[in-house]
Symmetry: none
Subunit: 215 residues, 4 copies
Amino acid sequence: MDHIRPLPAYLVQRYHGWRATSFAENRSWYRRLADEGQRPRAMVISCCDSRVHVTSIFGAEQGEFFIHRNIANLVPPYEPDGDHHGTSAAVEFAVTSLKVAHLIVLGHSRCGGVQGCYHMCSGHAPELDEKTSFVGRWMDILRPGFARLPEGDDATRQQALEFEAVKVSLENLMTFPFIAERVESGDLSLHGLWNDIAEGGLMALDPRDGSFHPV
Amino acid sequence: MDHIRPLPAYLVQRYHGWRATSFAENRSWYRRLADEGQRPRAMVISCCDSRVHVTSIFGAEQGEFFIHRNIANLVPPYEPDGDHHGTSAAVEFAVTSLKVAHLIVLGHSRCGGVQGCYHMCSGHAPELDEKTSFVGRWMDILRPGFARLPEGDDATRQQALEFEAVKVSLENLMTFPFIAERVESGDLSLHGLWNDIAEGGLMALDPRDGSFHPV
Amino acid sequence: MDHIRPLPAYLVQRYHGWRATSFAENRSWYRRLADEGQRPRAMVISCCDSRVHVTSIFGAEQGEFFIHRNIANLVPPYEPDGDHHGTSAAVEFAVTSLKVAHLIVLGHSRCGGVQGCYHMCSGHAPELDEKTSFVGRWMDILRPGFARLPEGDDATRQQALEFEAVKVSLENLMTFPFIAERVESGDLSLHGLWNDIAEGGLMALDPRDGSFHPV
Amino acid sequence: MDHIRPLPAYLVQRYHGWRATSFAENRSWYRRLADEGQRPRAMVISCCDSRVHVTSIFGAEQGEFFIHRNIANLVPPYEPDGDHHGTSAAVEFAVTSLKVAHLIVLGHSRCGGVQGCYHMCSGHAPELDEKTSFVGRWMDILRPGFARLPEGDDATRQQALEFEAVKVSLENLMTFPFIAERVESGDLSLHGLWNDIAEGGLMALDPRDGSFHPV
């Protein structure tokens, strides 16, 4: 295990700072969360991007949100083929075991994954077209979104593709039988959001016409 | 799009609270992060579990950590087969595009995913053995960890399996050529951690003997 | 160059200790900071006093804070007269080149510079009144603060003068056109702090009434 | 005082982390430092650059180093003209009041101030030549260093100018009577250092030939 290194000192210090303050103030709550298990009200699927913090945007406390984060907040279609599907596993666990009430897909501006997809689908990123590109193959999920982009300049179309990343994921979620069923019965509701990093904005998908409006 | 619902009011309220306080105080920093792009120093792979908050444990600010969260903080082995691999895509993006300096796998106590794996491998969770179980097939990644568990009572072995989730992931990370190469050259360092939710503890993997010790 | 001596051994030893630990753990991050340049989020103006460590108080990591330290954390008024102005140069570089989002003036208790100013303005330190006294002429910047001190005993008035050192500096900062402009537009925010060394306290200037309250 | 804003939450959190850990562990030492005053053994003059941390390089504890930081770690010549001279005031206070034993000028690689001076002296930065440029007028101190640069390519000469920033400052320090006197008597020693940020290197000025060698 020569490849493992000690934790950098700045993270050790920050951890001890957290333990002495935030943890110390909520000790009994943490113990209860550990003893009784988690009971999150919502699942959020967001991007790994370091500038997107669902925990700060929603003031998330321990135990509130079941959070899956991947590149470009994508959900692939239902494909029970026996392979490893990390996103589908997270969704299945949240919905069938934890029985969350809300499932939120949170997109964001300046998304590097979406940008890569845009270049790839426009024929300007051959390295992402290669079979060995994990990012390229992951962004394939968003190809149906690229196909229906309106005409326009690149900047506009790229942002539109960020909106599509939210919409395609929500569509794919509905291909999972255990989700469609619970949405039908009213036990689960789906939500689409998009965070403007520069302006701190938050826009929600309007089901009536598929557009995004400030919340 | 009948399946899309408006954002619950409690989240709308919290978002506006964040925007009026934390965002307002840091407006120019957010704009700069948007304009100049992210430059995170570390990637963290942690569990979706609502009780695990890398952002609070490490006092993470916007722009600091590239965070991937999946069930049981697992990384599958390198498999460039052209399929969707969300975790591998996230790792590839962080290491080759963002050039993070640290890659941290953060496990935790009372992990529902690990517990499911333990029951499945012990023959007590037939529903997870089914081909259509996304959670089961995802937890297959951890089977090599179960195989080498020491004898002992169930509680001890289950916690040992949580440690294995960290170790198996770190081993699998080293099967990615672009990671092994950078670890070799000293440009990337790997770290293994385990968070005790009840006690607010943090233990680090000791490369000398594979055990975990408090940081 | 007979006046140059070799570095004392205790500092050589400490440097090697740092290089073998903290630097070694973060090698690629340092290289990146060197290659891509600094992008600090905040500038701090604090005292040279050996007991005031912004880097420990704020757990500052390499690359986070642009730090100017002078006697009594003072900023002179805007005076573009062609002379050397070290503090004004530092402020200009931080704001116009590095585009920091926050500018923090950090005062502290038991400040020797402020004490000297208090004695000088009270007529009890003639040596500081001399034209050749660099400390005296530097502390002239704080004379407007002394002029508005409330009545009271010496200890109270001296601490009040430490608060004034923060307030006068913040007022002077606003006389720089490039600062006033950015504060106006919301791109830069100013903050006043005072650190109690004995108690490890931190008080922030309240803009509503000019008083200081614990953060 | 509309221009003053509350301290950003991330700094409030970090401060409380420090207070609960590092401060709490050293409470009596801090109180003693406050009661008995500081007694630093060395003064360090370094750059404001966020990547240069004398406190981490030298593992500085509270009370050890009197630290002045300005753009490019420059000291102007002795000029007792009655104007504000922040650097000269800091040096005077450290040497005559605190009686430090060591005075260290710490330069560093990739210095933005030195780079600006290089461009200015080469005729490529007219904006720095303007009378109103605080950075330009401050960097005038380094002009004698530029004048004696050896021939060579720009990168080599720019790094040589970083070395000159250390040497010019040390020369200027010797123009202060209270310094020359104490150096003469052996009560004060001067040291010149240069920190390579990318490599974590530290080079010391060799008085024999004016070159820099690894410590």
